[in-house]
Structure formats: structure tokens, C-alpha cells
Symmetry: C2
Subunit: 331 residues, 2 copies
């Protein structure tokens, strides 16, 4: 068996879950769905089989991360630059301590069902065996337009080669990709640090990787790197990428409408609520009581001193609210 090091990405905010998520209380710290553990804590528990546990986060979240995951080594990003730079930083740091490790890189703010461990162990094994970059591919249950897709190529027994990454599609294309047996890119990966850093050189992370390899001004190089996802910066350019089909339920809880997918009844509820002649709503609050009468298909979210209302099918537009609130330093 290889040495596996789980790397939990916990530097984001999850703005589309405002007002549950706020700059001081990002999504990974929230207990969403039918579980009173935070999403971060659940991710750490799920990755507990790994030999080592790391969490990459931003300076302002580090203390809280240490509270939630005291068993983890916390890596503080020099700056928030999305997943590409964060994972290069983590790969370099962990390689020094565990030269032979395989990294299992995981978002810390998704809802993941049973069966994760088997898939993750397969992915780590493929990464160790092949030196490829390995993604976990989730089997779609609907033609979602909000996720990237992975088109599988040759069947290699316990995994596929990746023929192509497909960006978030329009609805028609999403239906085609679903029919063609493509996977959702869930942002979960396995790789050896050497393989990852070598692939990362061939793209926008080159200056950062140079600094990491040569012991140069890493903080400076990090700050000068434009924010970029690991998908765009590395995976879509890499020569050898594989996909392991995921054998578990998965939801990224990307926006409030996700709670409808996770819910049973007429409305998705979190906290106390009363619905009178109202269905298809997401009613979410902390210690508040939310009433809706005669209205369908709305998100009503009330946390702290903030209330948000948006149609469920426009839940992505919470970004627009957050953008305006940020301008006024109200996020």
C-alpha cells in the first residue's frame, strides 16, 4: 500500500449560500443537511482512513480549522488564489515530509454519501501505480449545467483514461454528455506530488512551481499568480489523466437549491418554518422561524441579521447579492 495523505481544501467561502455563509463563516464550517457536524468535519471523518491529514486554508480561517480538525496539519495559503495554486503549494509542502505519499485532494464543503472510501482508495492506488493524475468521476443523475464533465476514454479495468474534460455545458450539451456516459468532475483527485508538480509546470502555475522547486520567493510567486482552478491550470492540459468512477452519492451543495435535492417533503427546511399553501421552497434559518404563505419555488434564508429571498431556479444569482454586499463591506 502507498502512503496516502488527504488534502482538504478549506480556503473558500461558498458565497452562494449567503447568508448562511459569510466571510467569517464559510460554507465548510456549516452543518448542512441532516447531520450536525460541519461539512469540514464530515470530510475529515470521511478521509480518516488516510495515513496523514492536511487542510489547506486561508489565514483568517486557520484557527477555526484547527478547532474543527485538531488532528490535521494545517497549511496556510499565502493568499487566496483558487484551487490551482493551493494544490501546488500543498503538493510541494507534503512532498518534503512524505516523499512517497499519494495525495488525495478533496473539497471540504461537499455532501458525500457512503462508499467514498473504496473509490478513494482505488484512485490513490491508480495514482501510485500509473503516475497519472487521477480524478474521481461522479455518475450524473440529471443533465446538470452547473458542473464540468469528464469524457472517459479507454477502459483500464478499475478506471478509464480521460479522453476530454468538458466545461459546464448548456442544457442540450448536458443531455448529450449524460447519454454519452460522461462523469461529473467533482473536484476530487489523487496524485503523486512529483507527477502533479511536473504537470503543473506546463501552464499558468509555472512561476509558482519554479519558486516552490527552487526554494525561491514562494509567497511572492503565490501572490503574483492569478486565481485559477486546478482543472484549468493543470488537469485539462495534462498528458495522462485517469478517471475512477465514484461509487457514492455526491452533491456539491453549490447553491441553496441543492437543499431541494437533499430534502424529502414539499419544502426543503432547515430550522423552524411554517408553509401554508407553499411548496418547492427552501426555508433555511438559524434560530429564526420562517413563514411562507401562497408562494412556491423560493429560497428564503435567514441567518444572523440577514435575510435572503431568491427564486430556487435563480439560486446562482446570490453571487450578485454578495458582490454588492462586498462593495459595501457587508459580506
Amino acid at each position: 500500500m502507498v502512503t496516502t495523505a488527504a488534502v482538504l481544501l478549506a480556503g473558500g467561502t461558498g458565497t452562494r449560500l449567503y447568508p448562511a455563509s459569510r466571510s467569517h463563516r464559510p460554507k465548510q464550517f456549516l452543518a448542512l443537511g441532516d447531520d450536525d457536524r460541519s461539512l469540514l468535519r464530515r470530510t475529515a471523518d470521511r478521509a480518516g482512513f488516510a495515513d496523514e491529514l492536511f487542510v489547506v486554508t486561508r489565514e483568517s480561517y486557520a484557527d477555526r480549522v484547527r478547532d474543527i480538525v485538531p488532528e490535521a496539519s494545517v497549511l496556510v495559503e499565502p493568499a487566496g488564489r483558487d484551487t490551482g495554486p493551493a494544490l501546488a503549494y500543498a503538493a510541494s509542502d507534503i512532498r518534503e515530509r512524505y516523499p512517497d505519499a499519494v495525495l488525495l485532494c478533496l473539497p471540504s464543503d461537499h455532501v458525500v454519501g457512503d462508499g467514498f472510501r473504496a473509490t478513494a482508495e482505488t484512485a490513490a492506488d491508480v495514482a501510485a501505480r500509473t503516475d497519472a493524475l487521477v480524478t474521481l468521476g461522479v455518475e450524473p443523475d440529471r443533465p446538470a449545467t452547473g458542473y464540468g464533465y469528464i469524457q472517459p476514454g479507454d477502459d483500464r479495468g478499475d478506471h478509464y483514461e480521460v479522453a476530454q474534460f468538458r466545461e459546464k455545458p448548456d442544457e442540450e450539451t448536458a443531455a448529450e454528455l449524460l447519454d454519452a456516459g460522461c462523469f461529473w468532475n467533482a473536484g476530487m483527485f489523487a496524485w503523486a506530488p512529483d507527477a502533479f508538480l511536473a504537470a503543473a509546470r506546463d501552464g499558468p502555475l509555472e512561476p509558482l512551481v519554479d519558486a516552490l522547486e527552487t526554494g525561491g520567493d514562494v509567497d511572492g510567486a503565490f501572490e503574483e499568480t492569478e486565481p485559477v482552478s486546478v482543472d484549468y491550470a493543470v488537469l485539462e492540459r495534462a498528458a495522462d489523466v485517469r478517471v475512477v468512477p465514484a461509487d457514492f452519492e455526491w452533491d456539491d451543495v453549490g447553491a441553496w437549491d441543492a437543499l431541494l435535492r437533499l430534502a424529502d417533503g414539499e419544502n426543503a427546511t432547515l430550522g423552524d418554518s411554517l408553509a401554508v399553501d407553499a411548496s418547492g421552497n427552501v426555508l433555511a434559518s438559524d434560530d429564526k422561524h420562517v413563514s411562507v404563505v401562497g408562494a412556491d419555488d423560493l429560497v428564503v434564508a435567514a441567518f444572523d441579521d440577514r435575510v435572503l429571498v431568491v427564486p430556487t431556479d435563480e439560486a446562482q444569482r446570490v453571487r450578485e447579492v454578495v458582490a454588492e454586499l462586498r462593495e459595501d463591506e457587508l459580506f
Copy 2:
């Protein structure tokens, strides 16, 4: 000049403005619209020209009423039985102290514009002169279905005789009543106590009036009286009722959609809010911040630990929410 005694009715709750209104904080205690005085305080100020000031309220509101209107004599109803019993009780009480007074009976939770005093003084004068029951009639600016109408009869110079009271009409009838020059019944009245109590005998208030006149068990009679509006219990049955056209703006702020009528901009706002691609909404809160994106024509009201969402054109249905909350003792 007659002695005028203003009688402010402050025993109701204003349930349709939940959650701003709650059992412990009725509508008349709220500062709605562009004025930081409570509706009760504004009513007292507006009636300040009267020689005497009374407030009729329920036991649980009495202390707060005394805080808000320290200059008033507070009459505590033996029980909450709507405006009919309350006004009979007030007429009897005030007559003992001021036998020659004319009462100016006023809701304490309406928004009333300039010009009130002149109309009210005319009404008091007509009441003193004719011994009739006098209503203030508001000139409609739309075919509202939520108000009762007053059909004027013979023109008596500074007022009309009342030909007929019309209950809340359907839309078609409302348009006809508007065209026919009818007035809205705003629940504002002037009368001599003797005239009122004599008229009140001819209806469901008879046992209560008997107890009041004979010094019998008033509390018992009050409690045994069914809740009944003064319109139904007295005015619609009385032989001689007059209407004085009101020369002022008026809104009963009966439900949340009223704020749209009182507002200027794209949305009616009370408290901090942010509207992104959203119009026709009522966004009302205490110290909370309400955001709406991509949704029109909704009431979003957030007060204390309560949030309510209802389409503006169904704002009356807040009653249904309050009915359910009352069952769970959550109102």
C-alpha cells in the same frame, strides 16, 4: 363650541402585519411609514386639538399605552370584543365625567394625512348639532375591495345623510361604488354618548348597554357579548347617520401591501435592504438586512426572530399564518 373628547381605539393587534405586529407588540405601537413616532402616538398628536383624550385598550397593552400617550386617560376594556362593545363602554364612561361631550372615535393604527383636524371638527359639530351618528367618509382613489363603503344621501351642506352602508364589495361592485360617489368607511366617528348608546340598544349590544345604564354587572355583560364591529352593531342599524367628507389622505395600513401605496421607489422598504433585479416588493425589517434577487411582488418581512414571505396580492393571507401560529402559541 362643544366639548370634544377624542377616543382612541388601541385594543387590536393588527395581525396582518405579522411579524412586525405580534401579540406583545400590536400594530398601533409600530412606527410605520416615514415617521419614527408610533401610529398611536401620531394619532394622539393628530387629535391633540380635542379637549379631552381617552385611549381604550386591553389590559396587557395598558402600561405601554400610558408610556406612549401619558396625557391620555386610559380605559381598559374588560375583554377584547371588537369595536362595538369597546365604544359602548367608552361612551358610558366618558358621559359620567363629561355629560355634554361629543366623542371623536378614532382608530389608533391608521396613517392619516394633513387636513384631519378640519374634517374632525366639522364631524363633531354635526354630531352636536344634529344628535346623529356621524362618520368620516374618505373619498376613494381606487376600487378597493378591502373597505366598507358609505353611500351618501341628501346633501346637508357640510355633510350628507347616509343612504346606505355597503359591505366590502367584489371588484365589479367596488368600481360601481367608486363611480357612484360613495365614500370609504374609515372607522372614524363622532357622536354624543347619549345618541350612541340609544342607537346601540337596538342591536346585539342591548344587554351590555343595559348593564352600563343600570350599573349592573358590566364586566360580565361585556364578556358575554360576542365580538362585533361598531359598524354592524350600531351604525348600519341606526336611524340617523351622517357622513362628513374627509379632506385628508388616509390608509388603514391593513396589510403589508399597504406599504407599496405609501412608498415611492421600485420597492417599498422599511429598514436596510438590497434589491437586485427585483421590484414591487415590500422589504421590511427591524435591525436586519433583507436581500432579494430576481423576485417581484413579494412581501419579505423580518422582525425579531420571525420572517414572513407572501405575494403582495395575497397579503391578507398573513391571517392564515397567524391562525396557525396562535394554535401553537407562537404568535
